[in-house]
Assembly symmetry: C2
Homo-oligomer: 161 residues x 2
DNA sequence: ATCTAGTTGCAAACACTTCTTAGTTAGGAA
DNA sequence: TTCCTAACTAAGAAGTGTTTGCAACTAGAT
């Protein structure tokens, strides 16, 4: 229910307020500050970096809370992680250009080829960031096997409890 | 060991032999077996999985050798990792569809937008793997800042003493 | 067969993340 | 405002995934 024009950060903070209320959890200073910090940067920080930044304004905040809050924000769908989480680094002996399909449920990764995707037209803004070595596409979805499993377990779609 | 036609695995193993020789390092059983295992699977295993697999044939191999070998193979350019390695999980408060530019040197990540890339045409083979939730492009390169740094440090050694 | 630098196996260290316990603070409903 | 309790801090410990130090070993050259 935003009424006036807000900065991107304020808009995101408003979304936090809504989401927290809807989830029936508390809107604590820690949650606000941690999210504000993340929403206000383009640097995709890790937990430690975020902790140090928030600490400047809230000297008593603990690293543990940063981790817990990020986890909560993820459940609320307000925050995403970059790259895969959980499990270790995965290796690939295929050094030809190719793309990946990743199952969001079981983590399965499969290669696929596409000449078209090998030569994507990238927007000019990218070139301003630096040189381009390669570009690959990561498709995420639910693999055939996991679709079967989901169906079998007859689990109605529910939000995280 | 005398076969006329080579399987893809054998072809890759031949590349290993060459690369190892060229780099002036030793072609140990461990390196052969670890690489053979990785080159022979499409599953993009992690170090632990690879370790367990190699162990069946080489019961004395150790997990740290797997790690060290994978690192060596990476330096030789025979193996790649999927996703970012090193550092912790990185977070993103931008939940709109977007793409990433990643600097291979400093790890900097920047978002970029592209309507065109938001609606990529994916090959039909992908659909056979499972449902498609989203697809995003990851561009890797050397960011402007690191280009400057590289230039400065790669400068032909002028007489400085 | 001998030599030796590069490699390995083992254990221990390390980095990141999560969890435990216990005592305190503070959000927000009544 | 009062009260209930979720959420917090603190300090520690544990769980993963990865790296390192060191003595023993071995690939490959002589």
């Amino acid at each position: 229910m935003s009424k006036t024009k807000q900065s991107p950060v304020e808009r995101r903070l408003a979304r936090l307020t809504d989401a927290v209320r809807e989830a029936g959890i508390k809107l604590t200073h820690q949650r606000i500050e941690i999210f504000r910090e993340l929403a206000g940067t383009e640097e995709h920080p890790d937990a430690e970096t975020l902790f140090e930044a928030v600490r400047k304004r809230m000297p008593t905040v603990s690293l543990d809370t940063v981790y817990r809050t990020l986890s909560t924000l993820q459940e609320l769908g307000l925050v995403k992680t970059i790259g895969q989480q959980g499990g270790g680094t995965r290796f690939d002996a295929n050094i030809e250009p190719h793309h990946h399909y990743v199952c969001v449920s079981c983590g399965m990764i499969r290669d696929f080829e596409s000449k078209e995707l090998n030569s994507l037209r990238l927007p000019g803004t990218v070139r301003q960031l630096g040189t381009i070595l390669d570009a690959n596409v990561e498709v995420r979805g639910l693999c055939a096997k996991c679709q079967g499993r989901k169906k079998a377990s007859t689990r109605p779609k529910s939000k995280s409890s």
